[in-house]
Every structure is written in C-alpha cells, then in structure tokens.
C-alpha cells in the first residue's frame, strides 16, 4: 500500500459519504413534500392562527419554486434547523440533542453484550464444527433471531423486573438520584460526579433493556463469526500451520478470528443502525427517553417535522458509523479494503 493509494481511498470514501448524506436529505425533503395537507399549517401546528401560518409560509419560502425551496431547506439544515415540533413546541434539533445520549448509551451497552456473547459463541461453534455443540449454537442463534423484541421486553419487564425484582422496571434513573448534567450520558455524568450509587443505578436501569435489544442481533453475529472462521480454518495455509504443530488455540485466534474481523465489523456497523430501529420498541416498553420513544410519540401525534428530523439524524449517524467501520478495517487489514476500492 502506498500513501497515494491510502489518500485515494480516503478521498473516494469521503465523496461517497457526501453523496449519501445528500441523498438522505433529498429523500427526507421529498417525504415532506409528499405528505398530504398544508406544509405551513403542519409546521406551525394546527392551533396556529392564520397569521402565524402565513408567517411560517414566508419563513419557509413555500411560495417559491420547489428548487428554491430545496436550496432553502439545505441552508436551514446547515444551520441545524430541523423545524419545530408541534407536540413539544420546541425546535426538533434541541429535542433530539437532549435525547441522543440516552439512546447511544442503550445501543452501546447492547452492542457490548452482543459482541461479548455473540463472538465467543460463534468461535465455540466454529471450533467444534459439525459437533453437537455446533448444532446447538446454530439453532440457538436462529431461535434468538426469531424472538419479537417488544414481546421479549414486556415479558422480561414483568418477570425479571417485577416478579424477581432483579432490575428496575422502567425509566433511566431512580427519582432523586440526580447528577449534574455535563455530557448527557447518565453513566458518564455520574462517574464524573464521583457518584458510585448513581452510576450503579443508571447501569441497573440499562441492563435489561440493553440485553433485550441485543438478543436478536446476536443471532447474526454468531452466524457470521462461525461461518467466516470455518472458511478460514479450512484454508490450506491453516492446514499447513496445523501440520507445523501450531496449537489449536493459536490457529483459532491467529487465523480464524482474524479472518472474521472484516465481516464482523461490517455487520456490527450495519447493526448500529438496526439497533436504533430496535430501540423504538425497547424504549417504548421500558419508558426510557430517547430517539425511539420520541419517534413513537411523534408518530402518534402526527408530528411531521419531528419524525422527519429523526429519520434524517438516524441516517446521518448510520452513514458516519459506516465510515468509521471502513476506517477501522483499513487500519486492521489495509490490503483488503484497497483491493475492494480499486475493484469498485
């Protein structure tokens, strides 16, 4: 790999990112246009007076041509203006920025559980390929993938939360346990405040929702780890390494696991986006503030700009995660990505 190749790759990747972002913005703009009814009325809220509606119409430039409106929309986005929520009576952007940390906390913990259970399980199955263990892990993986998240959340809440009393039932923190808000991440803020009780409390509120959220995703991780390791372990050079007397553990980690890094990181990158979708269900059941519960409420109240603002923000997050995944892979195994980049 030459530095030129690397630079080329990064430039190409950034260009892709820009077009994807523009694409998402365009889709959301078209969705706004496609929604039936008066856009100014929707933006001003149905209780707005005719004068207020007219003021909004002028501010949004709705009398201009569609192209001008599109340019204006892009301009407002650049200033972080996602429109106002008719339900919270606040700018959507400020609503969302307050909620992002809650959802990220949930998704990150779910991802940790996902990886720390899914990867070893997949490795185990691959190491014991064609054994009873392999069959059971595979079936378990398929079974996990077939569980409806919302149903699991309800049952988990009733059984683990209430009947067994092992975890809090709902919410993000016990009332009265307040820590100064710095980052917005409850776990981080309580650590910054040196408040161990609050940290444990925030974590306790996170565990069950995160576990429920992670279960369907584990199914994919197990299967991808397993299959990519099996492919690697059957390769000629691995047979050679075995013949040379490398220990089974070395073979498994050196050759098997390394081969799984690229497909697994690609999968995990995709899963971050899917998890934000899954959070819609989990946050609703566990009464956690966040993207998901905001989105369901916005849908229930037909809060157009809140919903579309969410779609946009989630799209942007997913796109950036994709970029991060690519960069991670580039660092982990530059040849693979550069080859792909050339081929594309």
């Amino acid at each position: 790999m030459t530095p030129k190749d690397l630079a080329l790759f990064v430039v190409r990747r950034l260009l892709l990112l820009a077009t994807t972002l523009l694409g998402i913005v365009t889709i959301v703009f078209l969705m706004i246009k496609a929604i039936p009814g008066d856009e100014a009325q929707a933006a001003a809220g149905l209780t707005a007076s005719p004068e207020q509606v007219e003021a909004v119409r002028r501010r949004l430039g709705l009398d201009d041509s569609v192209l001008q409106q599109y340019v204006g929309y892009l301009g407002r986005l650049l200033h972080g203006d996602l429109g106002n929520s008719i339900f919270t009576f606040r700018p959507v952007a400020s609503d969302l920025s307050g909620l992002i940390p809650y959802t990220i906390e949930l998704v990150v913990l779910a991802m940790l559980i996902n990886v720390s259970v899914g990867v070893p399980a997949g490795m185990l199955a691959a190491a014991r390929h064609r054994s009873r263990v392999d069959d059971s892990v595979r079936l378990l993986a398929i079974f996990c993938g077939a569980l409806p998240t919302f149903w699991l959340a309800m049952i988990g809440q009733a059984v683990i939360g209430r009947q067994l009393g092992l975890t809090p039932i709902s919410g993000v923190a016990t009332i009265g346990l307040d820590v100064p808000r710095r980052t917005g991440f409850l776990t981080l803020d309580s650590l910054l405040a040196g408040n161990v009780v609050a940290f444990n409390d925030a974590l306790a509120h996170l565990v069950l929702p995160a576990a429920v959220l992670s279960i369907p995703f584990m199914s994919f991780v197990i299967r991808v780890v397993r299959s990519s390791m099996i492919t690697a372990l059957e390769a000629d050079h691995v047979t050679a390494a075995r013949a040379k007397g490398a220990s089974e553990r070395t073979v498994l980690v050196r050759h098997g696991l390394r081969n799984a890094i690229a497909p697994v990181s690609t999968l995990l990158g995709l899963q971050i986006g899917w998890m934000m979708g899954g959070a819609v269900l989990v946050e609703t059941v566990f009464n956690r503030p966040g993207f998901g519960s905001y989105l369901t409420q916005a849908v229930a109240h037909k809060d157009t700009f809140a919903v579309l603002g969410m779609v946009l923000v989630v799209g942007v997050i997913v796109t950036f995660v994709g970029l991060v995944v690519d960069l991670v892979q580039l660092v982990a195994d530059p040849r693979v990505r550069l080859l792909e980049a050339r081929r594309a």
Partner: protein, 285 residues
Amino acid sequence: MTTVAIAATASRPRRKRLPVLDVIAFGAVVVLLAMAVAGPWLAPHDPYQVRLDRALLSPSGDHLLGTDGLGRDVFSRILVGARSSIFAALLAVSGAALIGIVVAMVATIGPRWLDDVVMRLCDITLSLPVMVMALGVAVALGPSLHSAIVAMIVAWWPGFARLARAEMRTVLTAPYVEAATVLGASRARVMTRHVLPNSLDGVYVQATLEIGGATLIMAGLSFVGAGAQPPSAEWGAMVENGSRYLSSAWWISTFPGLMITLTALAFALAGDALRNRSHPDSTLG
C-alpha cells in the same frame, strides 16, 4: 426451547444439517400457510364478535386460549390473524424482491452511470433502519397495515437489488451466456432468456429467509401503532392490546407473541434448509 430439545435428540455428528429438523421446519411453514388460508373457516368463534360479558376469561374448553379484554376468543383471533400477519410479510418480501430484481436488471443492462446511480440509491436507503423508515412512511400515509407493507417494500428492495445484481453479473460472464451473445442474440434476449432464469436462486432463498424477519418487523410496527389497526387480529396488534392485562390476563399477549416467534423460526429454518440445498457446500448459517 422445543427446537433445542429436538436438536439434542436428533443430533449425531454428521456432515449436513438434520433432515428431521428440515422436515419439521417445512411442515411448520405449510401448517402456518394453511392457517393463513383457512383460518377464518377453522375458527370456533367469531373473532370479531365483542362479548363484553365474557371478557378476560382464562383458557378453558370453550375458549382454548381464553378471551381478551372485549370478550373475543383469543384462539379464533390467532387463527384469523395468521392471514394478516403472514400474508403481510409475504407481500412485503415479494414486493421488495420483485422491485429489487427489476432494478438489478435495469442496472445490469443499462449504462455504467445508471448502475452507479442505482447502487448509490441502494446505499442511501440501506442507511435508514427499516423501523425508522416505516414510521416515517406511516406518518405520511396514515397508520395501517397497507402503509406498513409499503414502508417495508421501500426499505427492503435495495438488499434484493444488490443480491440480484451480483448474481446477474456472475451469470453474464458464464460461458454459455457469452456464447449466446457471440451467436448474435440481442442484449434484452440474453437477459430474459439466459441471465434472469439463472440468477434468481439466491433471491428466492434470501426471500424465504427474510419472511421471518418481515413477520417480526410487521408485528413490531403494529405494536407501536403504525401497522394493523383495530379490530384486526394481526398478532403484533394483539400483543399490544394484551399488554395492559399482562399481570392479570397473561394469555392475551403471550399466545400471539409465541405465534410470531414460531412463524419467524419456521421461516428462518426453512430458508436455511433451502440455502443448504442450493449450495450444499456452503457453511453459512
């Protein structure tokens, strides 16, 4: 749990997956499809008949799975709900697959720039999670089972388009296709006679695998109120409807939840079996 038990009793070290399990999976799919078709005739009670005097009865001989908060027979509703739950998933997946195939064909036949544009569009759509996308569509079209299906098609076609395009490219370079081209067959003829029929196996298998996932998402959409609406007996809506009785009348939510799980499981296993048949040496799954 049952599937694990089955696996334990039937599993001996062997090269391929257990045919017993395959048979059970295909059997379950057939039973579910039969339920979706014949559900309304099999139901012992009228699934939409509100009987407020018989609300929240626990499972008994007359009401095998009890009654819900409006006195409707849960068993009958599950039978009838199979149609909306399973057919909606089938419709969403086949719609997405069909669009995916058409788009892939256009991308393959068309000029290079068109291919680029289409693939970009795929990437963009794939960056929006299905659930989020679907809620956006639900706001635009109003919440209903139809909008949920439309939303899923909108969100899922790119996956199929990518798969079909990849397979078509492979087939295009196969010797017999190149032979046909050399013999002077038109590009369109080559596509429809040779490439299309030989590149869809993967799409079929993928579609079967996705039906399970589609059932889950469809139920999730109904659960948050963006899918099927009352008095529909769609299973996700039934789970939602029973959620407020979970501590006093557990049967209302539990049984439809189990049905969703069973359906997703049956289609996942059946899809897996299909894939193993079409690619016997594949180790995926």
